[in-house]
Symmetry: C2
Subunit: 205 residues, 2 copies
């Protein structure tokens, strides 16, 4: 059985996974310029040192769960089914992806093996589906902050690899907020800086 993981979720030094006013032109909102710049070398294969060690780890993941804001900028009812994510015809997932939305629609099969499923089911149910699809591989809860927080509150995440970028947003979507006592279940087992970010690993005790 694989693990349930958060991987390379990047937050600002003041704790935000996204800024304010997320929209088509600014998918991560305002105030978080350069938040994910550290990942560019991961995608183009030029990462070195600690960043490369943490890596994308894409081969470990057999299914992905994400929130609607991570899937796209459209809120409320879908005007039509033309929006199929930020990632073009061949998204970098290559497996089943569950997208939370209050407005479910038919699944979309993309090139390269990615299928987007849209769901308004409870997070536990969706996780079970994702685990079944992932088989021996891990499930990644990809984001945004709101979905990660929901799974954290429910104690359903086994391991989180978080990157803290040396950026101050001032406002936005906080990762560590409204978690009640959920964080007491987790331990920080690693906190190391690369020249670009600080990599932090949380595991459930």
């Amino acid at each position: 059985m694989g693990k349930v993981r958060v991987h390379n979720f990047t937050i600002t030094l003041d704790g935000f996974g996204a800024g304010t006013d997320q929209r088509l032109e600014e998918p991560f909102g305002d105030g978080v310029d350069h938040l994910h710049d550290w990942m560019d070398p991961l995608f183009d294969g030029t990462a070195t040192g600690l960043d490369a060690e943490v890596g994308l780890d894409a081969e470990s993941f057999g299914a992905t769960i994400m929130g609607r804001n991570m899937f796209g900028p459209i809120r409320g009812e879908w005007p039509d089914e033309s929006w199929t994510g930020w990632w073009g015809a061949n998204p970098p997932y290559h497996h089943d992806v569950w997208v939370f939305t209050h407005h479910p629609r038919a699944a979309v099969q993309m090139e390269g093996g990615t299928t987007f499923h849209f769901t308004d089911e409870p997070i536990e149910v969706v996780l079970d589906r994702a685990k079944a699809a992932a088989g021996e591989k891990d499930v990644i809860v990809a984001g945004g902050a709101s979905v990660v927080r929901q799974y954290l509150r429910a104690g359903l995440i086994d391991q989180l690899d978080i990157a803290v970028a040396p950026i101050l947003a001032g406002a936005g979507e906080p990762l560590f907020a409204d978690l009640g006592n959920a964080l007491k279940q987790y331990e920080v087992v690693q906190q190391i800086s690369s020249p670009a970010v600080t990599h932090v690993r949380l595991v459930r005790r």
Copy 2:
């Protein structure tokens, strides 16, 4: 003219400078055990590497400003003047210290050159007094989080050296909260991990 600085202010990974229910037995409250352990080697002179480089830097400071919670556990009116801080007869400041309180009382001269002044004046006025006392040296805004936030909001801090400890508190006194646009004035110029904590330096642009 010296700078106005925050130095070695330590926060949890989730951003808290103190936990909940600060009191005599737990000056930093619950949920933040070991938050300041990394500083022990600084005080006993055994620190090495990056922690030692950042250091206490005590000789740079000519005056200190702190909040009442940092001075002691007593809230409201002082029952008497017997409480003179957590630090015994010879506090480690050896200069003038201003303590914010809604209940000012007579200044207390301690052994070793530390004098505690109690004030309910505006933060700008207190800073001017501290600057005058510090002369060419720097003024340290020592904490807690609430006092640091007030000076940050007013844009009065030149440099902050913050230590992020690999600890999750879940709740408490946040450092980066309710700062409005104040953080936009600051830039993270350094973020490096020692084996114990991540040292972050913010400077005003």
